[in-house]
Symmetry: C2
Subunit: 444 residues, 2 copies
């Protein structure tokens, strides 16, 4: 008999069917065993009536334990009045088991109960037992939202006429010139793990004008925060022939709105598990200069952002608070970051060369994207590389790109995990990645 | 004035418009300068009439050179009879330049002429000058096909009810137990670059039953061939609750057919540039045991595949030839590879334990995918790890996955660049990747 997915069983009342999945939980009630069977589509109650069963079925069914993998055949029946469970979609039916096949048993003590609504575990245990905790309903919900972000990004970027590219993650030049790169030996040469597809997506502008990439980036930063990862998925974009740097934010604005809308359309059940409220988004996402928001934060909240920082996490949090109070917006662009805080390829603002044509996008007080217009003339780029005390020789092919003619352009990098983390109000971004990499975590 | 994309200009006859792009070529004809302007959407002829122009326009327009980036305003006119160019979509019109803005000039001698139909360069030069050669029409065509493969894979996988996941590329365990890993220091621990998402996609089966991933993989293999890369995009999949290993090939068959169909639908112009013929695909892709094809190759083509190899490139080529002759198919599954040639997690064939439930998919005589059913019981897995002279301790979290109950499952890895390479009959797979990584190439 062919397997039927659990979500289709309510339409099979009276029919004999076969379902396969994991034992999510087991409950005994006299001569009855109730099993909640979990497959990729839902959860279904299976009843073993020991008194009516043949000896063999009665014997094996009593052995069943959580996470055993089974196939069960039986008839779909409506549940007796009063025994319905409105919380699951199959709550009005159950199947009466007639046949049981065990595909796999559990061979290790279960360190947790996946059938509980909340796992309530310490983060370290949650991540250590990842191969199991990921099976929990709430974990799966997180990664269904994650998938929606990936799909929505692609969809909206294609709609906006961007071409998807894939650029190398093994690179020979440190793109930001910084120290936070993982390095290794590549057939006798020193290689770096790409911290961003920056150089390559800019080259892509020369091909297609508008390009985007979805891929991993790697940061050797010894963070111990709830919002950093050493490897994450960056949603990158770069666009040519811009007339001013506001156009970059205009496009990103469409993108983030589309992503959020998609999640609220496609992940209703998942959002409910986290009691996630729809974000406040005004018609136009407010844009405010960094130096202005610093002033406001000082005046309004008596908090002074340290001098040597563009904006610190506390500052971002308060900027988010201000955006909610002033503009009723969970999203806000902070613009015109100082030159000293941005990479060498960032376009300086002609009106104030100490500032750059750059921005961060904050969502609920956390940076989820960063972007800027880039320098597109080789001679200006070389000048800036030198000002940053870097050696133009290390950036030869990158500089060549601009010697061969490049239009004004800019782009952004949007953090996939950051979006999921903030939407679901997770305690840490580490829960928004399947197998987080941080200073202490390389396994699993 | 707002810029109009070149592809939209044929509908603007009689209107004044603005176009922006690169100078693809320039041709002088007495007091006329003909420019082919290239933007992301096409190529358009722009005419500078020096005799009718103001002095300034006449002076600057004479300086224009290939790859300069410009915006031009002027009126769209039908070309004089006999001056049409049927080869381009805008071949019946031209614009008469009235205004010219130079966005960027070229500041380096152009090492090649992008307006030629064929670049006809040595591979080493083509790749060295990548930031420029990628702008050529044929290069762009390759990566439009590449994009279609990415998009089609995603689309068909979603249709087949797979969930997209992203797994770490920095890992702490060598997944195949082999030596071909790039290794590096990760905050004091030894880390590897993932050679495949194997372990993680299998864990994903425990979450969603069916998962897929599109991401880079890394191989420290000192190849000098036309079909290997040290970094490439792997289209991975893993599916649970299979009843037999043929189901994996059934799904992959749908996937590859959908990808090919999509390309022949969406990339007609690109395919034409390469004179690419539609592949021969029978209703069902033939499946033949490796040991049988070895026999056939020996009998039919007098070629003996070396004893210590499962199948060598020459063997694959001849297997492809056989598939075309015998089944009129450009695709063929070779199945049941010997145990010694497959990773330790591959399910042995119960009927002949020296063979495995594994397959490769050949396309025009080149392997484009590899897959198998996996061992899903912890005790069998441990036994096999030991047989492969590996230490189960190194695979603890992976083995735990199976101790917690896993259904029969299997999957594949499909090489994105391999598909593009064979579809377009490129001389080497290196042309099917933006910035190829091989033993000698780390830059650009």
């Amino acid at each position: 008999m062919k397997r039927l997915l659990v979500k289709l069983t309510p339409k099979a009342i009276g029919r004999k069917i076969k379902v396969c999945g994991w034992i999510n939980s087991r409950r005994d009630h006299g001569k009855l065993i109730f099993i909640n069977l979990r497959d990729r589509s839902g959860i279904l109650q299976v009843v073993f009536r020991l008194a009516d069963s043949n000896q063999q079925l009665a014997t094996i069914s009593q052995k069943l334990r959580p996470e055993w993998v089974v196939c069960i055949e039986g008839e779909v029946k409506e549940r007796p009045k009063g025994a319905e469970n409105p919380e699951v979609e199959t709550g009005k039916i159950e199947i009466i088991a007639e046949k049981l096949e065990i595909l796999a048993m559990v061979k290790k003590e279960m360190p947790l109960d996946l059938s509980k609504k909340e796992l309530k575990m310490k983060l370290s245990t949650l991540l250590k037992e990842r191969v199991l905790t990921l099976r929990h309903e709430k974990s799966r919900a997180i990664f269904r939202v994650f998938e929606t972000v990936l799909g929505a990004y692609r969809k909206v970027m294609k709609k906006l006429d961007f071409v998807e590219i894939k650029t190398p993650k093994i690179i020979g030049t440190a793109s930001e010139g910084g120290a936070n790169f993982f390095t290794f030996d590549y057939f006798g040469k020193k290689a770096f793990l790409a911290q961003s597809p920056q150089f390559y997506k800019q080259i892509g502008v020369g091909m297609f004008e508008r390009v985007f990439e979805i891929g991993p980036v790697f940061r050797k930063e010894p963070h111990f925060t709830t919002r950093h990862l050493n490897e994450y998925i960056s949603l990158d974009a770069e666009m040519g022939f811009i007339e001013n740097f506001n156009e970059i934010m205009d496009e990103l604005e469409k993108v983030i709105k589309f992503i959020l809308k998609s999640i609220w359309k496609e992940n209703k059940k998942d959002l409910k598990l986290f009691s996630a409220e729809p974000p406040k988004i005004p018609k136009r996402i407010p844009r405010i200069k960094l130096r202005e928001i610093r002033k406001i934060i000082k005046e309004k909240y008596q908090y002074e952002i340290p001098e040597d920082s563009d904006i610190d996490p506390k500052g971002e949090e308060l900027a988010g608070k201000w955006a909610r109070e002033k503009w009723k917006s969970d999203l806000v662009f902070l613009t015109h970051y100082p030159k000293s805080c941005r990479p060498f390829y960032t376009m300086p603002d002609k009106e104030n060369p100490e500032e750059t044509l750059s921005f961060d996008l904050l969502f609920k007080g956390v940076e989820i994207a960063t972007g800027s217009q880039r320098i597109h003339k080789a001679e200006e780029l070389i000048k800036n590389i030198k000002e940053f005390k870097l050696d133009p020789k290390d950036f030869k092919f990158y500089i060549d790109t601009f010697k061969y003619g490049m239009p004004p352009h800019g782009g952004w990098a949007l953090g996939c995990e950051r979006i999921v983390y903030k939407i679901l109000n997770l305690p840490t971004i580490k829960e928004a990645t399947l197998f987080p990499r941080d200073v202490k975590r390389l396994v699993p």
